[in-house]
């Protein structure tokens, strides 16, 4: 069997471990964004960090429901992906609402740096950081 022979395409269509049929919430997700979606290609990367501003945390009363929950949760910096999971919201809904909350200065949004994946200094830092993490052998 070889990957580059014509018939070697993965054949079994049946078992796809996707989340189909799993309702993301009681409310249809894009009611929360008044039907707005992020333009394809303009999405913030899902690891983008979101942090509440001091003003945002002081003005929680001005917000309701999901928007308030987002700002509250962002007292600790976290990614859009983590935020979506913690609040049980669709990732793309969080993207739209985080954009609104940034415009309202409730949040700051820290996008990953462009071209980070070819940044020699960043790559070295990640390698060194990984070498230093406690592993099972170290913990035992």
């Amino acid at each position: 069997m070889s990957r580059n022979t014509g018939d070697a395409r993965p054949g079994s269509a049946a078992s796809r471990p996707d989340g189909e049929g799993k309702a993301p919430g009681v409310v249809r997700p894009f009611l929360l964004t008044e039907g707005r979606v992020v333009a394809p290609g303009a999405e913030l990367p899902m690891e983008t960090q979101v942090v509440a501003t001091t003003e945002g945390l002081h003005q929680l009363g001005a917000l309701a429901f999901e928007r308030r929950a987002i700002v509250e949760a962002c007292g600790t910096p976290q990614s859009l992906a983590e935020l979506a999971v913690r609040l049980g919201l669709h990732l793309n809904v969080v993207r739209v609402l985080a954009g609104d909350l940034r415009a309202g200065r409730f949040l700051t949004v820290h996008e990953p740096r462009a071209a980070i994946s070819t940044d020699v200094d960043v790559l070295r830092r990640v390698i060194n950081g990984l070498r230093a993490i406690p592993t099972a052998a170290g913990r035992a």
């Binding site: 007292g75 949040l107 950081g129 052998a137």
Partner: protein, 198 residues
């Protein structure tokens, strides 16, 4: 500075770390989530990611004339490498009759580890094809299920027909040291490429 900041003030809440990410790809049940869990600081979370499906099969092409966007469940974890640097690990599902575009997940990733069960090698073909096309640094990691790797790595490399610079390694998805070392192998390839390009 490291970020394109979204606001003018320094918030009192803790400053955000610089996020970096890597992708752990492979077929269903191959050990992706296990590998994420082995090194993540927190138990893996499950989110739904948008993927674009491009019809690549011969059947049903009339039903998917172009491409469609769908969502798939995806597990991810994170490792705080230092107070200012957080590594995210995204496990992307990959067994399908469709070609995949995981751009939503892979955009900006430092590299990818393609996890392989050598008894079901074909399950990783879409992932290998994808990362080759994207010219993203990746390594093929054959998961050592219950001890033995049933096929020698040379045979795996030959069957996958990957370029000689692509590492084909053996690892244990349950073992944090093994997963960590595999990620470092991917990053060293990424570093070598970045230095060659500089």
């Amino acid at each position: 500075m490291d970020f394109v900041a979204g606001s003018r003030t320094r918030p009192e809440p803790a400053p955000a770390p610089m996020p970096v990410k890597m992708v752990i790809a492979g077929g269903f049940g191959v050990g992706k989530t296990t590998a994420v869990a082995a090194v993540s600081d927190v138990p893996p979370l499950t989110t739904e990611a948008a993927i674009t499906e491009v019809a690549a099969g011969v059947d049903d092409i009339s039903l998917t004339p172009d491409k469609t966007t769908t969502t798939v469940a995806m597990d991810f974890g994170s490792v705080m490498l230092d107070p200012t640097l957080k590594l995210y690990l995204f496990g992307t599902p990959g067994q399908d009759r469709f070609g995949f575009m995981w751009d939503d997940v892979t955009e900006g990733a430092l590299g990818a580890l393609v996890v392989v069960d050598s008894r079901r090698l074909e399950d990783c073909f879409p992932a290998v094809d994808y990362f080759e096309r994207r010219t993203m640094p990746f390594a093929v990691a054959v998961n050592r299920f219950a001890g033995a790797v049933p096929h020698p790595l040379d045979a795996v490399r030959e069957a996958l027909d990957v370029e000689s610079e692509v590492p084909v390694i053996e690892f244990d998805a349950r073992d944090s040291e093994s997963v960590r070392d595999s990620l470092i192998i991917v990053l060293e390839l990424a570093l070598a490429r970045a230095m060659a390009a500089a």
